[in-house]
Amino acid sequence: MFSTAIIVFREVLEAAIIVGILAAATRDVPRRNRWLLAGMLVGLLGSAMVAASTDLIASFASGVGQELFNALVLGVAVLMLAWHNIWMSSHGAELASHARNVASDIREGHSECSVLLVVVGLAVLREGSETVLFLYGIAASGDSGTHSMLFGGLIGLLTGIGVGYTIYAGLLRIPMRWFFAATTGLVLLLAAGMASTAAHFLIQADLIPALASPLWDTSALLPENGLSGMLLHSLIGYDARPAGMQVIFYMTALTLIIIGMKMNAKPRQSIQTTGTI
């Protein structure tokens, strides 16, 4: 039961952290809860479908369909998060200042909501499908311990959601003037980490070279299967033994998003005239 709880916790944690950070980052977007919920439902539905078609997905692209699928899902999520940050760099202050007109509110809120829907949906889909497969395996084995193992799964699920909620609640307590810097920074690192994981899957599929593999090894210092390693992996994309190509993907995503944000940021004056932050 205990091991089941840990496995489910591990899978749920990553999605929960992503949802927690995004929920905080979009706190002022109108009708945010509805979109968040829709994203989770779509993700859950999708994860059941992905789990059911594991065989089919795996058989694509001469056996590396699963890697391609993961890389694609991560790539789309990176693009959406990049879009979120770049958009927020010019509109975030207005949204927070509550000094906006209703028409632009709805228009701009919409694009932000679709980001929320897609990223939350994809995060739940990716991690959820593995959880579904794992729990299906337990249920299908029909051993005597099935019930206690499924109960363990439930505990893992709730614990994971608890961590996600804690991050969300913690972020909301940050004073408004630091809030945007904090959530923008977290989303930035989340996106870079996903880019690195996408590279990891493309290397595994032998589609891109690993370059140095690993570039460094900090597994003795901070193992990825320990709690802090797991948290750091989900938060900032920490990898104890990254390939050189992963680091290149990480840095490239980070740099491009920062450049996009700088280019899109409004001059300081206009922010100050729209309201107090």
């Binding site: 056996g63 794992f134 597994s219």
Partner: protein
Amino acid sequence: MKKLTYIFLLLPIYAYAADTDINIVLQDHRFQPSEINIPAGKKIKLLIENKDKTPEEFESHSLNREKIMAGNSVTKIYIGPLEPGRYPFFGEFNEATAQGVIVAK
């Protein structure tokens, strides 16, 4: 005899061009063989046949690999080139029994 010689002459080319395939079987949540010797510094293709009807996740922190294997299917995983050493792997869904190690020499 002449034909055989030709074939032998071609062998180094073949060995260079193709990945080395390693077959592993997963049955009753155990890897067979559980210890696999591979040459260091070469790219290797693992072909893992999951004979169980339940899915499994191949995972190795030291190899930096993770892949879902559907029940009753063959999964392909590329690893290497590796430095000489021991690289443990396991099936995440049945970690108690599904253990193995790649030894690069």
